[in-house]
Amino acid sequence: MSALLEVKNIYLSFGGIMAVAGVSFKVNKGEIFSIIGPNGAGKTSVLNVVTGIYKPKRGKILFEDTDITNLPVKKRAKLGLVRTFQNLELFKGMTVLDNLMLSRHIFMNYGLISSIFYFGKALKEEVKNREFVEDVIDFLDLSAVRKKYVFELSYGIQKRVELARALCLQPKLLMLDEPMAGMNTEETEDMARYIIDINEEMGITIILIEHDMNVVMDLSHRVVALDFGEKICEGKPEEVANDERVLSAYLGEEKWV
């Protein structure tokens, strides 16, 4: 397997506090790759560097062997780097459908003029992309809420809408930031299923950040563990789960009484 994404020795700091210190890893095509670590370990920061919201102080990001370290955020979506957010970042004032249609933005190829009259190319493109969106809606079982405004929906559904929105961008690499957070068991199971389907049926590579260890262990092909912005372990789920440093990061170094 070739590496789809390569993170090379990145450093990131906020006001003197090192959030990420020399993290490197590779994500292979077609795998589910998880990043774990206690709160504040720098997981989301790594994700933010990969998606370009933060610029790393040092280090490089390679996507399909091209250096994207300094590529603006908006261009990364076109390359196929897509993410979801830890705290829902949906467009609350739009319907679910419009949220998803927005993701098709970069695939729609028409200008202001045809948009003004809403005929010809605009109409054709809208319909074509609507078809794609409907496939995703169908895939994630969102058809019942299609025309609802996002703010009306429950948290679990909103999470799913966010996933759908990401899928509409036809990602090559999908980064999920705590997709299960705040969900009940049932919703978690659904979400896990969707993630597996996305990975297996659509062949999309996934980076998963998740706190629920059961999910991580079951779903991931490989896992990297971070603590204090540093990589402490990388490998198969079982290996990571039994790693000394990981255990201590989660459970504390020793037992003080």
Partner: protein, 350 residues
């Protein structure tokens, strides 16, 4: 118009994206539009004036709503942009003798360009900072209106000739009604169209969550500028119509008060709603006139009213804005939808 009658199925996505969701609403809208064409044959020039003002203002209000309501960029300089459109009209008509079908698009285009220039700070500024920058735009443009005498006639203002179409001078309220009415319909339809396509969605995404929008591949800066451009284009059209209607423009027509007036229109009507912009305009144009006539009527009973009325009117204006913000923050458009939803199921509304 998000409510869809039950038992109404669509078989294509294109139909699903249509503005009017049902045959019934389509028919009622069209018949209303046609009915409006009959109004001038029955109304006097005062009523026509009010309607003309509503048409002109609603174009500008829709423009401002595109920028402020849909894209989330608060503009305190809309009045000045309307001014740009008006002066461009005056300049083009006076110096090149162009007819309105060249002048209006050209003036609007010029306004759009100016709007984009003053939208440039949006690259770095957000929220409050941006709205303060538009406040600056207002004052700077006012200064330019006064100083650039060769273009604007300076403080003395400039006369604007009547527009003519097929040799007919549009020189009274009656004729202007059809003129303004057709512009209003065209501009509002265009607005609706823009807002239901990818551009409109991109605008809302910038408003709702620009970080996510960027992550979705939306070039937010481009869309902010586009929003400024389109919004100013509308202001330009409105300014142009205003110039043609009033036939004499001076910088004093386009002050900060005008900008604020438009903001209150879209707040009262409903941010992020085209229909709301129109409602807001109707409300704000008619309100002072209604009040005036009311006081005229009442002054027979209580003459002192007439004495303090002017101040009361201003107070009323403030109170209306405040009450709307406190109790109907989503504006008249929402109220309208609620009423519609209620009547749709009437008399079995359970």
């Amino acid at each position: 118009m998000n409510y869809v009658n039950c038992g109404n199925f669509k078989t294509s996505y294109a139909k699903d994206a249509a503005i009017y969701k049902t045959v019934f609403s389509k028919i009622s809208i069209y018949s209303f539009l046609i009915l409006m064409l009959l109004v001038p044959f029955y109304a006097n020039s005062y009523i026509l004036y009010i309607l003309n003002m509503i048409f002109i203002s609603s174009i500008a209000a829709v423009g401002l709503n595109i920028l402020t309501g849909f894209t989330g960029l608060i503009s305190l300089g809309h009045g000045a942009f309307i001014g740009v459109g008006a002066f461009a009209t005056g300049y083009l008509a006076l110096n090149y003798g162009m007819n309105f079908y060249f002048v209006i698009p050209l003036a609007a285009l010029i306004t759009a360009i100016i709007g984009i220039i003053f939208g440039l700070p949006s690259l770095r500024l957000k929220d409050l900072y941006l709205s303060i920058a538009t406040l600056a735009a207002q004052f700077i443009l006012e200064f330019i209106f006064i100083r650039a005498e060769s273009f604007t006639g300076g403080v003395n203002g400039m006369p604007v000739a009547y527009p003519t179409i097929f040799g007919i001078e549009i020189n009274n309220d009656f004729r202007f009604y059809f003129f303004a009415y057709s512009f209003a319909i065209v501009m509002i339809t265009i607005g609706k169209n823009i807002l239901r396509t990818k551009i409109g969605r991109a605008f809302i995404s910038v408003r709702d969550n620009y970080i996510a929008a960027e992550a979705m591949g939306v070039d937010i800066f481009k869309y902010k500028l586009l929003s400024f451009g389109i919004s100013s284009f509308y202001a330009g059209v409105a300014g142009s119509l205003w110039a043609y209607y009033v036939q004499f423009i001076t910088p004093e027509h386009f002050t900060i008060t005008v900008s604020i007036q438009y903001l209150s229109m879209i707040i009262i009507g409903g941010l992020g709603s085209v229909l709301g912009s129109i409602f807001g305009t109707i409300f704000m144009v008619i309100l002072p006139e209604m009040l005036r006539h009311l006081v005229d009527l009442l002054s027979g009973v209580a003459p002192f009213l007439k004495q303090i009325f002017p101040a009361i009117r201003e107070a009323f204006y403030g109170i209306v804005i405040i009450l709307f913000l406190l109790f109907e923050p989503e504006g008249l458009a929402r109220r309208w939808n609620l009423i519609k939803a209620y009547w749709k199921l009437w008399p079995f509304s359970y």
